[in-house]
C-alpha cells in the first residue's frame, strides 16, 4: 500500500550561502495493508521528515514513494490533493484549523469532502467525539479555545473520520492521559483490522509495542558524515 | 423676416452637418448621434438643441408651432417663435392641426399627429443611464453592447424605495427593441403617444447630441413583469373643456388653496371648447379631487 524506494532528501538553505544539508539517503520501506510500522530513532533523525515526504508536504529529491498506485514524487499537485482527500490521511501533532468553525464541522469535513451526506457525516462525527470523550457542550464551539489534550483528541477524531486506506500518525498519543491514550490505540487497531496501512511515530514505547507490527529505525537512512 | 440673417439663423454648412446627424439618427432609431452644437443667441439650457434641429429642418413654406409644457403662450415659447419669425420668416401658428413643424419642451400634443408633421423635442440630458453611470466612456459601451441591466436597477431602486416605479417623467423607453432612450422630460403619460405617424427628432444643445424616432417605430416603456408600466391617468376632467383623458395642469385659484385642473395642451383645450365642450367652467372646482 505504501512503498518507499531509494528515497533521498536534502535541504538547501539559500539564506545561509546555499548550504546543502542532506537528511536522508536510500530510504526503503514497504507497508502492507493492515500493517502498522513504527518509525524510531532519536530526535532530528528524520521521522517526521519521512512522514511529510510521504504526504507530499516535503519534496523528495530522489526515489519513489508509491501510495496505492500514485508516485508522490512525480505526481501533479492535483493528484496529491485527490489522494489526500480519498486515500491518505495524516494526523499531525498539532491541530490546524480555520478559525470560527465549530468542532462538529471540523470533524465532519473529511467526510463531506468525499461526498458523504451531511447528516451521516455529523452522525459519525458525534460518535467519534463521544468515543474520544469530548463533551457535547463543546461540539458547537471552535476547538481553538480548547486545552491541548482536547485539541489533540479533536485532531484524532478528524483524522479517523474518513476510513483512509493509508494513514500517517505523528505522535497521536502525546499529551493524552492513560484513558484517552487507550481509546486512541483501539481506534488504530480498528483501522488496522479494516485493512489500513499505517506509518506511525510513537515516543511512548508501550504504545508502540501495542499497535506496531514492526519498527524501523530511520537513523539507518541518515547520510554518514563524510 | 430680417435680411441680416441667413434663413433660420444658421449658415448652410451648419445645417448640412445637423441634417447629416439627423439622417443618421433616423437610420438608427434611439441612438445618440454627436453633433457640433453651435453658439446660439440663447444660453444653454434654454432649448438650443431644439432650436438647431428646427432651424435645420425648416423650409420657407413650413408652418411652425412652438409649445412649452403644452402652452403656446409662455415666455420661452413666445421667444423661440419670434426668433424664427425674424430669421426664417415662416408662418407661425398655435393650432396643432395647422403646423408642419412643432417644437416642444417637455410635452407631446394631445391631438394625434400626421405623417406630414415633424415633432422637435428639446432635451436637457440625452443619456438615460447618466445618473447611475457618470462615465461617458462606459455608457457608450453599454449602448453599443446593449448592456441595459443598469436601467432596470434604477427602476428596481424605485420600487424598493417607494413600492412602485416612481419615475414620472423622462421615463426610459426601448426603441424598436434595441436602444434605450431618454424621451426628454415629458410626463410618462405621454410615452404611449410616442408610437405615432409623425417624425420625432430630439436635440440636446449643451450635451451636443441628436437622436430620432422615425414614424411608426416601436416604443416600449421599461418595466418589470410584476410591475408593468402604467402611464397614470387624468384623475378627472379638464375644468374648462371637460376632456376626460388629457394631461392636466393644476392651477391654484386663490389664497385659500382652491385649485382647478385644466388641459396642459392649450390648443387642444381651445379646440374642444370651440367645438362646444364645456367643463365646470367659470366656477372653480371647490373640492380637492386630487
Amino acid at each position: 500500500m505504501i512503498n518507499i524506494e531509494n528515497v533521498s532528501k536534502n535541504f538547501v538553505l539559500h539564506n545561509q550561502n546555499s548550504v546543502t544539508i542532506p537528511v536522508m539517503e536510500n530510504a526503503n520501506l514497504l507497508v502492507k495493508a493492515g500493517e502498522c510500522v513504527g518509525l524510531t530513532g532519536s530526535s532530528g533523525t528524520g521521522k517526521s521528515t519521512l512522514m511529510r515526504m510521504v504526504y507530499g508536504n516535503y519534496l523528495t529529491q530522489a526515489g519513489k514513494i508509491v501510495v496505492g498506485d500514485l508516485d508522490i514524487v512525480t505526481a501533479l499537485p492535483r493528484e496529491i490533493l485527490n489522494l489526500r482527500r480519498d486515500t491518505l490521511g495524516y494526523v499531525s501533532q498539532f491541530l490546524r484549523v480555520v478559525p470560527r468553525v465549530p468542532t462538529l464541522d471540523v470533524v465532519s469535513e473529511p467526510m463531506l469532502a468525499v461526498g458523504v451526506e451531511r447528516e451521516a457525516a455529523h452522525a459519525r462525527a458525534r460518535m467519534l467525539l463521544t468515543k474520544l470523550r469530548i463533551p457535547e457542550r463543546l461540539w458547537s464551539l471552535s476547538p481553538l479555545t480548547f486545552s491541548g489534550g482536547e485539541q489533540q483528541r479533536v485532531n484524532i477524531a478528524r483524522g479517523f473520520a474518513h476510513e483512509y486506506p493509508a494513514m500517517l500518525l505523528d505522535e497521536p498519543t502525546a499529551s493524552l492521559d492513560g484513558e484517552n491514550r487507550e481509546i486512541v490505540l483501539s481506534l488504530i487497531e480498528e483501522a488496522k483490522d479494516r485493512g489500513a496501512a499505517i506509518i506511525g511515530i510513537f515516543h511512548d514505547e508501550a504504545a508502540r509495542n501495542r499497535v506496531c507490527d514492526r519498527e524501523v529505525d530511520v537513523s539507518t537512512y541518515t547520510p554518514k558524515a563524510a | 423676416m430680417s435680411t441680416e440673417y441667413n434663413f433660420a439663423y444658421l449658415d448652410e454648412q451648419t445645417k448640412r452637418m445637423i441634417r447629416r446627424a439627423l439622417l443618421k439618427g433616423v437610420a438608427i432609431p434611439g441612438y445618440q448621434v454627436p453633433f457640433a452644437s453651435r453658439e446660439m443667441p440663447m444660453p444653454y439650457g434654454w432649448g438650443t438643441g431644439g432650436v438647431q434641429v428646427s432651424a435645420a429642418c425648416l423650409v420657407p413654406d413650413d408652418t411652425l408651432k412652438v409649445i412649452d409644457q403644452g402652452a403656446d403662450d409662455t415666455t420661452n415659447a413666445v421667444s423661440i417663435r419670434k426668433f424664427f419669425e425674424k430669421t426664417a420668416g415662416v408662418e407661425v401658428t398655435e393650432e396643432t392641426a395647422e403646423a408642419t413643424v412643432i417644437q416642444t419642451r417637455h410635452r407631446i400634443p394631445e391631438r394625434d399627429l400626421t405623417e406630414n408633421q415633424i415633432l422637435v423635442y428639446q432635451v436637457p440630458i440625452p443619456e438615460p443611464l447618466r445618473f447611475l453611470e457618470p462615465r461617458e466612456t462606459e455608457t457608450r459601451k453599454m449602448h453599443a453592447l446593449e448592456e441595459y441591466g443598469l436601467m432596470h436597477v434604477k427602476l428596481y431602486e424605485d420600487i424598493a424605495r417607494h413600492g412602485h416605479i416612481a419615475t414620472s417623467y423622462a421615463y426610459p423607453v426601448k426603441i424598436e427593441g434595441r436602444y434605450v432612450m431618454d424621451p426628454s422630460p415629458i410626463p410618462k403619460f405621454d410615452n404611449p403617444k410616442m408610437e405615432m405617424a409623425a417624425l420625432q427628432l430630439f436635440g440636446a444643445g449643451r450635451e451636443q447630441r441628436i437622436y430620432a424616432v422615425p414614424p411608426y417605430t416601436k416604443v416600449v416603456s421599461l418595466d418589470f413583469e410584476d410591475h408593468p408600466f402604467e402611464r397614470g391617468g387624468a384623475q378627472q376632467a379638464c375644468g374648462l373643456c371637460d376632456a376626460q383623458d388629457a394631461y392636466l395642469d393644476e392651477v391654484i385659484m386663490d389664497d385659500a388653496g382652491t385649485r382647478m385642473f385644466v388641459c396642459s395642451d392649450t390648443d387642444f383645450c381651445r379646440e374642444r371648447r370651440e367645438a362646444g365642450h364645456i367643463g365646470e367652467m367659470g366656477m372653480p372646482i371647490t373640492e380637492d379631487a386630487a
Binding site: H14, N15, L59, P99 | K141, L150, E225, D226
Partner: protein, 256 residues
C-alpha cells in the same frame, strides 16, 4: 479531465518595464490557486491580464466555456468577454468601492447582474438578492440600505454576493482581505472557504499575506520581479520552500 483555465506564456510589459512574463499554469474545477509576491512582483498585472482587465502582450488564457468549449479569452470579442465577466467569471476587488455601486441599495447591487442577463421579475430578483445577502451574513433589514452606510467588512461581503449571484465558475480575488481588521478578515476568509467548497468554485487569489493563502489556496505560485519563481502545493511551498526568495518570504512572516 479538462482544465477550467489553461494559461500559456502570458507576458506583459509597460514599455520597457516588465510587468510579468512566461506565466504558465492550469486550473481545474474546484481548485484554488494562490499567487503571492511582494509589491512589484507582477501579481496584480498577472491577475488583470487573466481577468481581461488588461491585454497581455503574449500568451493565451483558455477558458472552458459552458456553451462553446475551450476559448481563448484574450482574443475574444469585447462583448463576449464582458458577458463572460458578468456570468461565468467573478472579480472581487481589494477596495469594495471598485466593485460596488455605492449609490445603489444592497439589494440593487446584488440584483444588477441578474437584471443584466435579462431577469425582469422584481419579486424574484429581490428574493434572490435577499438569499444571497443571507449567505454572506448581511441581515435582511439592510437590503435597501446603500453600501456607503456599511462597514468595510460588510462592503466586501456585499461585493462577494454581487459577484456570486449568477453562479460563476471562476472567481478572481485581488487582496480580498486587505485593509480589513484581523477579526473581520477571519470571518471573510471562513465565508470564502465555505462558498468555494459549497459551490465548487475555482479561484485565483492574489495576496501578499501568506496566512490567507495557507487558509484558502490548494496550490501556490510565488512571484518575484515579474517571474514565477516557485509553484506547488500550498503546504509544500510554505513548509519546504526550495527557491531562495520563497525561503526568505516564509522566514519573514512574523509569529504571533
Amino acid at each position: 479531465m479538462t482544465p477550467l483555465l489553461k494559461v500559456e506564456n502570458i507576458s506583459k510589459y509597460y514599455g520597457n518595464r516588465l510587468g510579468c512574463r512566461d506565466v504558465n499554469f492550469d486550473l481545474y474545477p474546484g481548485e484554488v490557486l494562490g499567487i503571492v509576491g511582494e509589491s512589484g512582483s507582477g501579481k496584480s498585472t498577472l491577475l488583470n491580464c487573466l481577468a481581461g482587465h488588461q491585454e497581455p502582450d503574449t500568451g493565451e488564457v483558455v477558458f472552458d466555456t459552458r456553451v462553446e468549449g475551450l476559448k481563448d479569452t484574450v482574443t475574444m470579442s469585447e462583448p463576449e468577454r464582458r458577458m463572460l465577466s458578468r456570468t461565468d467569471w467573478a472579480f472581487v476587488h481589494q477596495n469594495p468601492r471598485d466593485g460596488l455601486r455605492m449609490s445603489v441599495s444592497a439589494g440593487g447591487n446584488v440584483g444588477e447582474r441578474l437584471m443584466a442577463v435579462g431577469a425582469r421579475h422584481y419579486g424574484d430578483i429581490r428574493s434572490t438578492a435577499i438569499d444571497w445577502l443571507d449567505k454572506v451574513e448581511i441581515s435582511d433589514d439592510r437590503t435597501d440600505d446603500r453600501p456607503s452606510e456599511f462597514s468595510g467588512g460588510m462592503q466586501q461581503r456585499l461585493q462577494i454576493a454581487r459577484n456570486l449571484v449568477t453562479g460563476p465558475r471562476l472567481i478572481f480575488m485581488d487582496e480580498p482581505t486587505g485593509g480589513l481588521d484581523v477579526s473581520v478578515q477571519a470571518r471573510l476568509l471562513d465565508l470564502l472557504r465555505g462558498l468555494v467548497r459549497e459551490l465548487g468554485l475555482s479561484a485565483i487569489v492574489v495576496t501578499h499575506d501568506l496566512a490567507v493563502v495557507r487558509l484558502l489556496a490548494d496550490r501556490l505560485m510565488v512571484m518575484k520581479d515579474g517571474h514565477v519563481v516557485e509553484t506547488g502545493l500550498t503546504d509544500q511551498v510554505l513548509d519546504d520552500p526550495q527557491h531562495a526568495y520563497t525561503q526568505l518570504l516564509v522566514s519573514s512572516v512574523l509569529q504571533v
